[in-house]
Amino acid sequence: MSARDELTCRDFVEVIMAFLDGELDAAQRALFDAHLDACPDCDHYLDSYRTTVALGKSICDPEGIDGPVPLDVPEELVQAVLAARRQR
């Protein structure tokens, strides 16, 4: 982020992830909020960015293999793994 007293949309978009991760300091956050209040296009862009992240996370369980709906493990895979272990 540049050291000006206001952000452009380019500056704003550049730091969206840092904003969402809580990594902006107080001065950066104030500039971010001021631009957000003044720029509906960036407000909408931020919303769509958030939605994109949420959509990505929604396609599977974020906890990985602790997911609530595991695939059945194919029997051929079980047997292949156990056979490979025996051959070690």
Binding site: T8, C9, R10, D11, V13, I16, M17, D41, C42, H44, Y45, D47, S48, Y49, R50, T51, T52, V53, A54, L55, G56, K57, S58, I59, C60, P62, E63, G64, I65, D66, G67, P70, L71, D72, V73, P74, L77, V78, A80, V81, L82, A84, R85, R88
Partner: protein
Amino acid sequence: MAEDEAKLVAALQAGDDAAFERLVRDYGGRMLAVASRLVGDGGEAKDVVQEAFLSAFRAIDRFEGTARLSTWLHRITVNAALMRLRSRRRHPEEPLDPWLPQFEASGHLANPGEPWQPQGALEKAELRAQVRKRIDELPEIYRTVLMLRDIEGLENEEVAGLLGVNVGTVKTRLHRARMALRSLLDPHVREIQS
């Protein structure tokens, strides 16, 4: 560590055949889901799971229970999948720039378009189906970071370690990947909203 899990780990460390079979049956399906997300469905994902189990069997003596068994197996599966992705022949990477936001000379967003309706968008099954397809369109280095961070839930530091890059690079790639994915999803969101 839960009592059942501690017993299973002790049996695995003792070389109990039945315990190994139980491990494969209990966790294999979930590991296959993780592998399929990373390398795609089909035979390669099964190969990844097999490689991951063999790695786990070799390392089980060093498992100390500081993480849950499921978390430990998840990391091993991710690592096996990344090894598989690295071994694929590299195709020339498509540039990401066309999918990044464009700006006017003044720094203002060019072509900002209509706003999304976030809640409505999330509830549409057809849009969620598109998400998977559009993620697969991302260049590999961006797709991998997005998958590991946003979908597999790894921390920046873990992703950096697995990919052999620094945390700053992970953050930059993730932000660019998310912006590109947003652009790829934009026409589908508009179609659903119209």
